[in-house]
């Protein structure tokens, strides 16, 4: 029997479809292996061979039994991602405390002059309202006793700032109820003698401070002019959503929200015009420029900026693969997304973090072709089997996708991978147009990592792919949708109280992030929406004859990001308003959204055989591949 293998080398995965001629061709095995090395280099060969071995094993043959190997003409595209933060918050003097400790004390708003609890009581005039500062050296019981003593001597104590985690202990031992903020590590940095305000919101959900987070509230408390009110805005905005906070009026200092020079991009359109745009103008502006200058000839980034570095890196990487010079390699698309990233506030008193504005960028490098022939040659050498470079990726993907039941020409595919979002459209005359856009699975992972303040990309990948839950008790977890599952065995004490990834098979991996399940879910979904829904519409618009997304009737989603548990539904939802039939592919009725290209390679080669076990419209393979396909057997 004749065995033929179709091989799709992608940026992250290498897939194989294996067919044999048993009085007519039939598919006998499918496999997938991690792509080794950069796509388009001979380093891919080990991964190819591994994938072939897996497929051969499933088909109960040896790799040597494969008579012919079909290789895809891989899309000459590399994607990369980077994040550019464009603001930072600097506290030039200790103006605010906004770390939001978990157990503040008391409730309400208090204003007064800052006084150390060790100060001489006689020195405090009775008219002054005071905010008391309690360093770690002072035991909480003593602090409470002192506060009571001062109160007996008619000193108006309005609030307290405490170094240790003692706010509740102190509040329970004093006679009045004053707002107390604790766990203030750098207590020595708080300027004694300055006016301050302390606010603690009432306990309960939705309860956040509302005076210190309102610039006019601060103006009222500190009697600010309108110029001073304008300056205090970064403080009030940093405190929005806090359950407690302290603001101190310092003689010179304030909180500065600086714009970091984030660099600029120069976008050059194919029609000759070009535009320079600063990244801090935000993603919407950048994408508008991309849209107006489309199609893009090249994009350059300012030297020394993060984005400049990323674009260089992407060019270099492509140069490694093709041997071309930097100058011959073009950046054909970028995707920009506005986001917020938690950054440590410089000069902060209690390790505060604030959410800084940032722009996430994905870039796509494209060149004319990849040197697949050297890969083909190497495989031929190693396996002593004939290797054909069978067809370009987009065409093969279309052909393979057509094996999804319910599909027919004309239709479009969305191939959602890691480095790029690709789309192709085949019209009634079997003509195929295709496009590659920057921004796909890797960008989603980066956005999740940035917005949650994670360095660990693997963890971010996990947060992308799996839903989370909170370990509430030793025997139960609460899911994202609020339902509770009871466990058969107790969790261990490191897992208790943690947010965990639910990887299936009952495995729960603690994520070690101090965020709520709801926040993680929102971040994850938002990242997927910003990247894939946007690019789905962009791609479908670009490949439609009328440059309109709503032109399409049928869209099939393939690629491994189409396996995601949320992305296909988000896209279907977004396309529904255009009346588009959109769903995850089901290649050969069995493999879901995977293996489209490898399947298409086999179909296009076999084109002139009489019997086939998947249904493809007559005459199709001939139009997209190399041979005639007649008399398909309908499955």
């Amino acid at each position: 029997m004749d065995y033929i293998a179709g091989i799709d080398i992608g940026n992250s995965s290498t897939e194989v479809a294996l067919i044999r001629n048993n009085n007519g061709y039939e598919f006998v095995a499918t496999s997938l292996f991690r792509t080794t090395g950069l796509k388009g280099t001979v380093k891919n060969v080990p991964g190819v061979i591994n994938a072939l071995e897996q497929a051969a094993e499933k088909a109960d043959i040896a790799v040597e039994d494969i008579d012919r190997i079909l290789l895809n003409e891989a899309a000459p595209v590399i994607g990369d991602v980077a994040m550019e933060t464009i603001t930072e918050t600097v506290i030039t003097e200790s103006t605010m405390i906004g770390h939001d400790p978990s157990t503040p004390g008391g409730v309400g708003l208090g204003t007064g002059t800052i006084v150390d609890i060790t100060a001489d009581r006689e020195a405090i005039t009775e008219e002054d309202a005071v905010i008391v500062v309690v360093p770690a050296a002072v035991d909480f019981a003593d602090a409470a006793a002192t506060i009571n003593e001062w109160a007996e001597h008619a000193i108006d104590i309005q609030g307290a700032i405490v170094q240790k985690d003692d706010a509740v202990l102190i509040n329970n031992r004093i006679d009045q109820d004053i707002p107390i903020v604790d766990e203030v590590t750098k207590i020595e940095a708080i300027p004694r003698g300055q006016p301050a305000a302390v606010e603690v919101a009432t306990e309960g959900s939705g309860q956040t401070i509302d005076q210190l987070s309102n610039p006019y509230g601060l103006a009222t408390l500190f009697d600010l002019s309108s110029e001073e009110t304008q300056k205090i805005i970064p403080v009030s905005r940093a405190l929005v959503g806090n359950k407690s906070a302290v603001v101190i009026k310092t003689p010179a200092g304030d909180v500065e929200e600086r714009t970091i020079p984030a660099g600029s991009l120069t976008i050059i359109g194919e029609h000759g015009n070009s535009v320079s745009i600063n990244i801090d103008q935000g993603a919407d502006n950048i994408m508008t420029q991309i849209d107006e200058l489309w199609p893009i000839e090249d994009i350059q980034g300012e030297r020394g900026s993060n984005i400049g570095g990323m674009l260089s890196r992407a060019r270099e990487q492509m140069g490694e693969v093709t041997g071309q010079d930097h100058s011959e390699i073009n950046i054909r698309d970028i995707m920009a997304v506005d986001t917020l990233v938690p950054q440590k506030v410089e000069g902060s008193v209690a390790s505060e973090h604030s959410m800084e504005t940032a722009v996430g960028l994905a870039a796509m490098v494209k060149t004319s072709e990849l040197p697949m022939q050297q890969i083909a040659d190497e495989i031929e050498n190693r396996l002593e089997t004939e290797v054909n470079i069978q067809g370009i990726e987009a065409n093969m993907a279309i052909l393979g996708s057509l094996t999804t039941p319910g599909t027919d020409v004309p239709f479009a595919i969305l191939d959602m991978g890691g480095g790029s979002t690709d789309a192709a459209y085949i019209n009634g005359n079997h003509e195929i147009s295709s496009i590659h856009l920057a921004g796909a699975g890797d960008m989603v992972t980066m956005l999740i990592a940035s917005e949650l303040g994670l360095d660990d990309r693997e963890l971010a990948e996990g947060l992308k792919k799996y839903p989370v839950a909170k370990v509430e008790t030793l025997f139960s977890i609460r899911h994202e949708d609020g339902t509770v599952t009871f466990l058969d065995e107790a969790v261990d004490s490191e897992t208790f109280g943690q947010v965990v990834l639910l990887k299936g098979d009952g495995e729960m991996e603690p994520v070690g992030i101090d965020e709520s399940v709801e926040k993680i879910r929102r971040t994850r979904r938002h990242a997927k929406e910003k990247v894939f829904v946007t690019n789905a519409k962009r791609a479908l618009r670009q490949i439609s004859p009328t440059e309109s997304t709503r032109y399409h009737s049928f869209v099939v989603m393939v690629g491994r990001s189409a396996l995601d548990f949320e992305i296909p539904e988000m896209i279907s939802d977004a396309l529904a308003e255009y009346g588009i039939v959109c769903g995850r592919g089901n290649i050969r009725s069995t493999t879901g959204p995977r293996n489209a290209v490898a399947t298409g390679l086999c179909l296009s080669y076999v084109g002139d055989q009489a019997e086939f076990d998947v249904s493809v419209p007559n005459g199709l393979a001939s139009a997209v591949g190399l041979t005639e396909l007649t008399g398909d057997k309908q499955s």
């Binding site: 370990v471 107790a490 208790f496």
Partner: protein, 128 residues
């Protein structure tokens, strides 16, 4: 040492953490209580006479008894030899949540904090 009669249910209904300890160790207990108080969770104490004739209960056993009495199923045991154990009534008796031998006052306080965090479903603090 005689065991106090375990009360199966708090009569006022509000569930509490239970600390069960040998009388002469009450200084450590004070710091445990501070940890719980700061976190805002209710608790009660069960002091035991330090009767040298009775067999010694380990901190784990004391903690488990305390947890079984507790409406929150959370108990802390302090044994005569200054071992502190945090337990939960649904764990196997020999597998408590955590134990500290001869703790400092700060470590005792963190144990109290962790008992409360167990009740509040928050991650536990590392005892350093």
């Amino acid at each position: 040492m005689t065991d106090q009669q375990a009360k199966p249910v708090a009569s006022d209904g509000v569930p509490q953490i239970v600390i069960r300890y040998v009388e002469n160790e009450h200084s450590l207990v004070e710091y445990i209580e501070y940890g719980i108080e700061e976190e805002g969770v209710p608790w009660r104490k069960q002091p035991l006479e330090d009767d040298a004739d009775q067999p010694k209960n380990s901190a784990t056993e004391l903690a488990y008894q305390a947890a079984s009495d507790s409406g929150l199923k959370i108990g802390i045991g302090v044994s005569r030899d200054k071992t502190l154990t945090l337990h939960h009534a649904r764990l196997p008796i020999d597998k408590p949540v955590l134990s500290v031998i001869d703790p400092t006052n700060s470590q005792a306080r963190t144990t109290g904090t962790n008992a409360a965090r167990l009740a509040k479903r928050m991650p536990l603090r590392v005892i350093d």
